[in-house]
Amino acid sequence: MITTVAHLRRGQKGIIKEFADGILPIKLLELGCLPGNEIELVQVAPLKDPIYINVNGTHIAIRRSMAALIELEIIEDSPL
């Protein structure tokens, strides 16, 4: 199974893997969503969507559907 940002639990971190060009909106890349960067899931909205991530020091909210497009490798387990 492919692991994506949508699979992260709160507090978990991962490193973004290489992804196919053109699948993510340019704005996400501009905000630092680039291969090799670290992503942490900070908070999940009460209805499970959207999610709130910290990527490379920038805090952004994205919807789950988009998060499912960002592949990553989990590096740190949730503190729970």
Binding site: I26, L29, E30, L31, G32, P50, A61
Partner: protein, 745 residues
């Protein structure tokens, strides 16, 4: 006049760009925390050392020159168009120290356009707390620019910016990054086709429409003929460019930027945990909303009562002091009544803007968006629609402008179309006065009926907005890719100065903007109401006096005089019995006679005035539309007020004030006057439960605001949508009001 240096301020949202602008120009403006709050064009003049002046343009916040929204395209179009009168001599890129890496992306793009550029690193006061250290000299060298380290919170570093601007000719214009390496062959071909053009500029022009289709056409139009690459290929190249730039930036920051990870960042995490909690998050949001409404309805009633009384007495004073005549009447009944109708709004609007400014400044608004996004989506709206819908309770105009941050066109269009349903502050005076007139004073579970009615009206406004959004979402066939990316800015303690200024600025622009219309309409109404063309109008005095002689006063006046006389008689009798005054029967009879005479005179004047009004231009207009409004329970006077409200709703009360006070001596405030208004046929109060509810519903749903229609036209670039709003909302309002009146009656 010497030539001014043209400066453009550019930067990511939430970097304090507007604060820098305020400090440079001294012209204080709004600083928001909700991404994209700076949407209007803002300009100012700044005095530089050695007597030079600079013209400063504050551009909308943008993350890059890859356009994805209307705001961003404003920036790109200016920077690509050398012939634009605002094309800058020097660009000042504002960044904040905590997000320097991301901010530098935009910087390198502007640098590559070969525009002289200065880098401002803001929020320097946060460096020690967040454990950041910077090697400014190294950064200047590697980025090939000049840097000003600034703290707008503490006001340091501004002089350095001014010096650098004055010295802009010494800035290097060499590019940072060679973009052509992302697709060497492609750029070779470009160069061969357009040998004279700058390649990077050309690249930006070509890729401008890839992610965003601007409504207006680009100033440089060479793209259409050069579609050698497909959109998706171009998108891929844009991503390559972004990665390339980040590689460049990372290389530099590795040496020049150190951050101590152990420095505290706990507050943000804790606040986020509470404010976006699945129970507390909504609870806090609800409590905040309740507080806002409480402030608007309760706290602001004191200054409002004061304003109401002041204007009533000012009007009286004018009439007593100035010689009687047309001019005096114009001042007392046209102008003063009109201004009073505007000024009375100020407390409520100020409170509303105060709260909105606080929520935006603190960073809380973004959390609301985060909380609400999923809830809004089934209705075709986005979390970002919440801010426009809430701002809509102040005024639909800024609310519709705030929709610019919604990237998805369909979501944005739906938000624009439904926002006018939310209860704006202009509806408030209409609601307040009608509720006070027709809703009884009792309490239900400790809450007054009147407050509950008001809340119900607000809920209905939101309900109508949400419901029509759902319908629009179903019927509109607009294909539009959904993507939602929102920065969650750090929490900040709102700067008192910024908040105070926002409240001042917004209130002022409302009063002046809407005030002009209201005042103009008041004067026109006064003229139409105090002039007529028929003989009946000319001879009103003789006709009415004659009528009274023959048939006596109208029933309302008759009973009014009787009851007043009765209570007066009792009062006199009391004082006679208690022997406080040395009164005899003769004196009492005298006093009674005088009282009756004054009352008769007043009643006569009132009847003359109302007869005149009925036969004035306005009377004819009102009677012409009476058949249309009669089924809703309105007479021709209310009909006129409803009609004029199509210019702006807040005119309603002012119009009635003008209509009722024309020619009569204005002792009673407008509310009492309205309560005394009788239906000539049924002889019952005209403002009763049925007609009152009908009026409330009509105002809740009808599209009665010219300014909103104009702004919708501007934002959608077609008359189609505002026309649809006008027809649909007003028809809906008419039908709902009709049904309500016919049922309750």
């Amino acid at each position: 006049m010497s030539k001014q240096i043209k400066v453009a301020l550019i930067g990511n949202p939430n970097t304090g760009k507007t604060s820098v602008f305020n400090q440079l120009t001294g012209l204080k403006q709004k600083v928001g925390n909700y991404p994209g709050i700076t949407v209007e064009k803002k300009e100012g003049v700044c005095k530089l050392p050695r007597g030079v002046k600079a013209h400063i343009l504050d551009l909308p916040g943008t993350y890059s020159l890859n356009t994805t929204s209307l705001d961003e395209s404003v920036v790109v179009e200016l920077l690509l168009n050398k012939n634009d009168k605002d094309f800058p001599d020097v660009a000042v890129v504002i960044s904040d120290v905590e997000n320097l890496k991301r901010n530098l992306l935009l910087f390198t793009q502007i640098k590559d356009l070969k525009i002289p550029v200065i880098l401002v690193i803001n929020m320097a006061d946060r460096m020690s707390r967040t454990g950041i250290s910077l090697d400014i000299e190294l950064l200047e060298e590697k980025l090939d620019t000049k840097i000003a380290l600034v703290s707008t919170r503490k006001g340091t570093g501004i002089d350095r910016i001014k010096e650098l601007i004055a010295d802009y000719k010494n800035l290097s214009i060499a590019p940072n990054v060679d973009t052509t390496v992302i697709a060497p062959e492609y750029f070779e071909k470009l160069k061969a086709t357009f040998p004279k053009e700058d390649l990077y500029k050309l690249w930006l022009v070509i890729t401008q429409d890839v992610n965003f289709m601007p409504i207006e056409k680009n100033p440089i139009n060479i793209t259409a003929s050069f579609a050698t690459k497909s959109k998706s290929e171009l998108k891929r190249l844009q991503q390559k460019e972004t990665i390339l730039r980040y590689q460049f930036i990372n290389g530099i920051l590795k040496q020049a930027y150190k951050v101590d990870i152990n420095a505290a960042k706990g507050l943000r995490a804790t606040l986020d945990k509470v404010l976006t909690h699945k129970i507390f998050g909504y609870l806090i949001f609800f409590v905040i909303l309740l507080t806002i409404f409480q402030a608007i309805y309760d706290w602001s009633s004191y200054p409002m009562d004061f304003i109401d009384e002041s204007f009533a007495s000012a009007s009286e004073w004018v009439k007593d002091t100035l010689p009687p005549g047309v001019f005096t009447n114009l001042i007392a009944e046209g102008i003063l009544a009109g201004i009073g109708g505007i000024v009375i709004f100020i407390p409520q609007i100020a409170f509303l803007f105060l709260f909105i400014a606080l929520l935006e400044e603190s960073g809380y608004m973004s959390r609301v968006v985060f909380l609400m996004d999923k809830l809004m989506r089934p209705f075709g709206l986005s979390g970002k629609s919440v801010v426009p819908l809430i701002s809509g309770t102040a005024c639909a105009i800024p609310a519709i402008m705030a929709t610019r941050t919604i990237e998805n066109w369909k979501e944005r269009l739906i938000t624009i179309l439904v926002t006018p349903f939310t209860t704006c502050s202009a509806r408030l005076p209409v609601y307040l006065i009608i509720i006070a007139l027709v809703i009884p004073e009792g309490r239900f579970l400790g809450l007054s009926y009147q407050a509950l009615t008001l809340m119900l009206l607000y809920l209905m406004g939101f309900g109508a907005a949400i419901l029509s959004a759902m319908i629009l979402n179903k019927i509109m066939k607009i294909k539009s890719k959904t993507f939602f990316v929102m920065e969650m800015p750090n929490y900040k303690l709102p700067l008192v100065k910024n908040v105070v200024y926002t409240v001042w600025e917004k209130t002022k622009s409302f009063v002046l903007g809407a005030g002009k219309i209201i005042l103009a309409i008041s004067i026109i109404l006064w003229f139409l109401g105090s002039n007529g063309f028929s003989d009946d109008f000319e001879n009103a005095e003789t006709i009415v006096t004659e009528n009274i002689k023959n048939e006596g006063f109208s029933d309302f006046n008759k009973s009014n005089i009787e009851s007043t006389m009765a209570s007066y008689k009792l009062a006199l009798q009391d004082s006679l019995n208690s022997k406080v005054y040395a009164l005899d029967q003769a004196a009492i009879n005298d006093s009674l006679r005088i009282k009756e005479m004054t009352l008769n005179e007043k009643a006569t004047n009132q009847e003359i005035a109302s007869y005149k009004l009925e036969n004035s231009y306005m009377g004819y207009m009102g009677k012409a539309i009476e058949p249309v409004v009669r089924p809703l329970g309105y007479d021709w006077k209310i009909g006129i007020a409803v009609l004029t409200s199509f210019a702006a709703r807040e005119v309603f009360v002012g119009t009635l004030a003008t209509i009722y006070s024309v020619g009569s001596d204005e002792e009673d405030t407008i509310k009492n006057r309205m309560a005394a208004e009788m239906d000539p046929k049924t002889k019952k109060p005209l403002f009763n439960l049925a007609s009152g509810i009908s009026l409330l519903l009509f105002y809740a749903f009808a599209m009665q605001c010219m300014s909103t229609l104009a702004i919708v036209k501007r934002e959608t670039n077609t008359w189609k949508w505002p026309a649809a709003q006008l027809v649909f909302m007003s028809l809906f309002a008419y039908i709902v009001a009709l049904i309500a009146y016919q049922i309750i009656k």
